[in-house]
């Protein structure tokens, strides 16, 4: 073996030893580190997502009291039960205020029966404290009614204004709720047949027949879906204070609900 051959052999052996060391020891460790980097990135994005969820949940917790109050107030517009007495009281109050005679109220056709059944089921469900799913669809049950009012055109116009004004949208996009939500489908104004003035001339009083629909929350949902003022259904934690609390008996009748 010549001197040159020996040198070549030594160089090759050295390179082989170093290459083996790299391939068998260092490279797998670097690959492991690289795959762990991917895991770290994934864990970081998971953390970011969880942190976002947590931040949102905490914000929701802070907003809970206000949200509870607005849900309760929305119950004024769309109650959990049929609440016909309060509807009649509301109509009577509106008609008295507008100098209109509230002549009659008739529950709508066959659909009202099932509506009533759904409504009573809803109220019993909420009364028994069943923890209805909060994310259930908000399909409302319709309750058709026919009201008859007597008054002048102007008075009836004011009455319509009042009936529409119980639940209105504000210019800021929120809702102002002060009574039952009614959708008027049809009206019929005709002269009040039996009234004449003392001089024998025909009175300007009219009979207004209004077909309207009130709405009731679905049977699967209570007014608040099992939530209480203190905490929502199924929660072990209490809401963070600092937001406005739910309505109290001394609270004003008009509530502003802003999305």
């Amino acid at each position: 073996m010549t001197n040159r051959d020996r040198i070549v052999l030594i160089v090759i052996s050295t390179v082989a030893v170093l290459a083996a060391g790299w391939l068998l020891v260092v490279s797998p460790e670097r690959k492991k580190a690289s795959s762990l980097k991917t895991q770290v990135d994934a864990a970081n994005s998971q953390l970011a997502s969880a942190s976002g969820d947590l931040a949102r949940a905490r914000a929701d917790q802070v907003r809970y009291a206000a949200a509870y109050a607005s849900v309760v107030r929305l119950g004024k517009a769309v109650p959990a039960g049929q609440e016909v007495p309060s509807l009649m009281y509301q109509l009577a109050q509106a008609s008295n205020r507008k100098n209109v005679e509230f002549s009659s109220i008739t529950s709508g056709s066959g659909s009202a029966g099932s509506a009533a059944a759904s409504a009573s089921a809803a109220s019993s469900a909420s009364a028994s404290g069943a923890s209805a799913s909060s994310t259930a669809a908000a399909g409302f049950t319709q309750m058709p009614f026919t009201f008859v009012f007597n008054g002048t055109f102007k008075d009836l116009y004011h009455l319509f204004q009042q009936l529409n004004g119980y639940t209105v949208r504000t210019t800021s996009g929120g809702l102002r709720v002060s009574g039952r939500l009614l959708t008027i489908q049809s009206t019929k104004l005709s002269p009040l047949s039996s009234t004449t003035t003392s001089g024998g001339a025909q009175s300007d009083r009219l009979t207004g027949t209004i077909t309207a629909t009130a709405y009731v929350l679905p049977a699967s949902q209570g007014l608040t879906g099992g939530a209480t003022q203190a905490s929502p259904a199924g929660s072990a934690t209490t809401p963070v204070s600092g937001a406005t609390t739910a309505s109290s008996p001394s609270a004003p009748a008009i509530a502003r609900v802003t999305p």
Binding site: G21, A67, S118, G139, P144, Q185, K188
Partner: protein, 269 residues
Amino acid sequence: MRAVNLIPSDSRAGTTPVAGRSGGAAYAVLAVLGGLALLALLYGMAHRQVSDRRAEVASVTARAQRAQAEAGQLAPYTSFIALREERMHAVSDLVDARFDWAHAFHELGRVLPSGASLTALEGNVGGGEASASASGAPAAGAATPAASSSTPAATGTATSAGGAAAAPTVTSATPPGSVPTFTVSGCATSQKQVALTLTRLRLIDGVSEVTLQSSTASSGASPAGGAGGSGNCGAGDPAFTIQVTFAPLPSSAAIGSATKLTSQTGAGR
């Protein structure tokens, strides 16, 4: 004479072997040792990275799990807020889908000429056909309210029968796209006044069409025709029946964007 190099052959310049006496083995050992030291350094760095990253993964995962658990505990709050939003949206949709009867009556009173008076008025939302036939059956409205609002009432029945809980959205009694119509009956002092009434009714906010159904001058005092008309017109005064058709009710999205625009521009305050 032949020159003789007296310097020993292994000490002569240029002839010293690079490999030295070990034949290069020493260099090889040094190179291997250097390489191994470098490999050890690289391995150490990689190993440290691995352990650091393992710890980081464990820590971050633990934090994420804690955050998820905490968010899970607060999930009822999120669900309740979602319920509130959903209900707000549903009620807003119903509010937006209503026809402004008071405004329409106000407009009617504003535009009606002094030479014309109304004896009856029937308004419907959603049933153009129903209101058209209402003039022929004036007394039907009070007794059978569903007759003048067949489409909405039918929708209501379906919702109730199908179970309101299963309904994915709120069905308004006056859904967007419904066409409000008024059938007005009355008396005028002359046919010119009827024509003026037709013209003036077109000025009502939101009216898309005004159609005369009849205008008949009576020879004496006779009951006025038309929907529910029971008033008397003067001798020779025409009794008219006019149908006023409004623009279809807008969708909630259109109202929402209009409200947003009003809110942004400050208009309407």
